[in-house]
Symmetry: C2
Subunit: 378 residues, 2 copies
């Protein structure tokens, strides 16, 4: 048994997640390999995944196969101890399948509140408390205390129960999947919470030497020395375009926390530009043309088939917005021409203009049916 | 390591299965406890489950929790070695979750054809080959042989490959989930199959000392000393009403195979009787009134609300049939009365007479909507 503890903190893998219609699995596999490389080169003693391993409680078979493979690689091939909890996106029952067998190879997977308190895991110089995503009713049940009606009240009880199990000669790390924000005000009798009734006040967590959080996807979500989100290893939405993704390397012996960045084969970029610039062949370097793009057009005029045209050059466009709105339809000369078109064509063109993407085959079929029904009623 | 081998052979648990609308899980749990008791009292060295652990590839959480609990009880609490394969109802990926860890406690779970051939399991004096449900394309892939177009051809190749791995000082047991029937005719050049292209000829399996099969739900499905179906531990359809359910206790050292019956808390009975007899309070003993009943009425006359009336006494009726058909509607005096009823009531009564069960709320709603549409069109 190692007598130091240096671990990698990651969370929110969301295996099975799609970006619009795009399958992220290949990128997730690539980033997984980077995490594996970081774990190796940093000589960590363990790897922490703070919840939301899956994107959905009912993951598809491909996702289950991928997660099974990743976990097996880390724990059985690389012989790395794993500390894993279920997040709100995971099914505790499904994710927990097989967990009683995993401990034998130091893969600790907790999916129930009771385990978090009753079964701390000691590795090296550190005692880990693995707290899966939980709801106040579970705390009321565990403590047989109906007064634990809010997240802050319940979390206070949970932390107190964990503290009672603290081994005095060890460092204490909490792994949790929750929304931590704000602070308790303890100067009045009634402890009011700044973060709201659903948030865990950060000061509650200061009894730990480190808190490895999952739930929020940005590692900048919280500014605290010891209480940190790792964020997701990939960008999952346009709002994360500016984020740097990565993992924390935590050394409880040295008391250090260091950031190691990860890069996805397909970055997610937010781009503001004119249609004319975007359609220049070298506007983005060749390897960036495949990135996931959230585009904001600076143009105001109507551009027919804009999504179709731009996707020809940038296959992974997530959305197209307008920076300055769009010219009103009555300014668009195209309308006078369209008077002579049939109503279905008009509707399809209108949709394309508004949504900047043409109707799908299915939508065209709906339009056709609806039109037929309207005609039948006349 | 034991140097004898005595094992319990069961299959086709189908956890998650419903009988009509009835949830079988409580009965399945009760029968599981009987299997556990038999394993204990018979001092078996291992327990074999020959596929179809689940009823569906995508089992609900309750079923996953139940199976996880049963397997954990057998393998971790009772410390019984387990030999398990996936059946056609199981998802190999989902059932196989965690399997690389299970071997450490002698829980061998094979979900791929390659494992069946490449990873025989030796326990005591016996070598087990665990062959999950497979399709000929998997055999073509494994052997890189496009000529394996049918089940008999592919199975011949599989058995030959297994034979090449036979340890000469061991007994050899095949665990498989397949349809075995008929025999190969090897007296002509072209081996024609009696059982058809989808069946495994039983004589192919004679190289084994015992073949523990799953797939067919009756243990009488095959008459062979060494090649046996255990059948399901519960009756799953009216056609199984006459079956005795149970498990085989196989002793490869002594060369014996013995039957141990199981009884579900709710039996499934097929009953032929008159309505008058059935409605006598003591027609069935009190504890049998809760059984699953497939009823055949000997009456011919129309009996209004017959399902509703009989379910008052027998809550778990699966179906009501007629032994001698039913009196034609024009013989039923009730019709003259019904002339004065409104059409929806007439339709509902007609359905009730024909199906011997009243319309559900949803069906009543459909009827109402359809009638409204018909009136609107007039």
């Amino acid at each position: 048994m190692v007598m130091v503890m240096r671990f990698l903190h990651t969370a929110d893998w969301h295996i099975g997640k799609r970006l619009n219609s795009f399958d992220l699995l290949a990128d997730q596999q690539a980033v997984f390999e980077q995490i594996r490389d970081v774990a190796r080169s940093e000589h960590v003693d363990a790897l922490v995944i703070a919840g939301d391993v899956y994107d959905r409680a009912l993951a598809n078979e491909e996702s289950v196969e991928a997660v099974n493979g990743m976990i097996q690689t880390l724990n059985l091939t690389d012989q790395l101890p794993l500390l894993v909890i279920s997040g709100n996106h995971d099914s505790p029952v499904r994710l927990g399948t097989g967990s009683p067998w995993f401990k034998a190879t130091h893969y600790y997977l907790h999916t129930a509140l009771a385990q978090a308190i009753d079964e701390p895991v000691t590795l090296g110089d550190t005692q880990f408390f693995l707290l899966p995503f939980w709801q106040p009713f579970a705390a009321r049940q565990y403590f047989a205390d109906d007064s634990l009606t809010t997240v802050p009240l319940a979390m206070a009880a949970i932390v107190q129960a964990m503290q009672a199990k603290f081994a005095p000669d060890k460092k204490h790390v909490l792994v949790a999947h929750l929304f931590a924000a704000g602070a308790s005000q303890t100067d009045s009798e009634t402890t009011s919470k700044v973060g709201g009734l659903d948030a865990v006040p950060v000061d509650l967590l200061q009894v730990f030497d480190y808190v490895a959080l999952g739930h929020l996807h940005s590692h900048h979500a919280l500014h605290d020395e010891k209480v940190r989100y790792s964020g997701s290893p990939l960008k999952f939405s346009a709002s994360e375009a500016g984020d740097e993704k990565g993992v924390w390397i935590v050394d409880t012996t040295a008391g250090t926390v260091e950031w190691r960045p990860l890069t996805s084969p397909h970055d997610l970029q937010a781009i503001t530009a004119s249609f004319a610039d975007l359609t220049k062949p070298d506007f983005l370097p060749p390897d960036a043309q495949d990135d996931y793009l959230a585009i904001t057009l600076t143009d105001t005029q109507v551009i027919p088939n804009v999504m179709q045209i731009l996707r020809g050059q940038y296959p992974h466009i997530l959305e197209i917005k307008r920076a300055h709105g769009r010219a009103r339809d009555d300014e668009a000369p195209v309308l006078t021409v369209q008077r002579h078109l049939d109503p279905q064509k008009l509707a399809a063109d209108f949709y394309t203009e508004m949504q900047e993407t043409p109707l799908t085959d299915r939508q065209t079929e709906w339009l056709k049916q609806t039109w037929a029904e309207m005609e039948a009623q006349e």
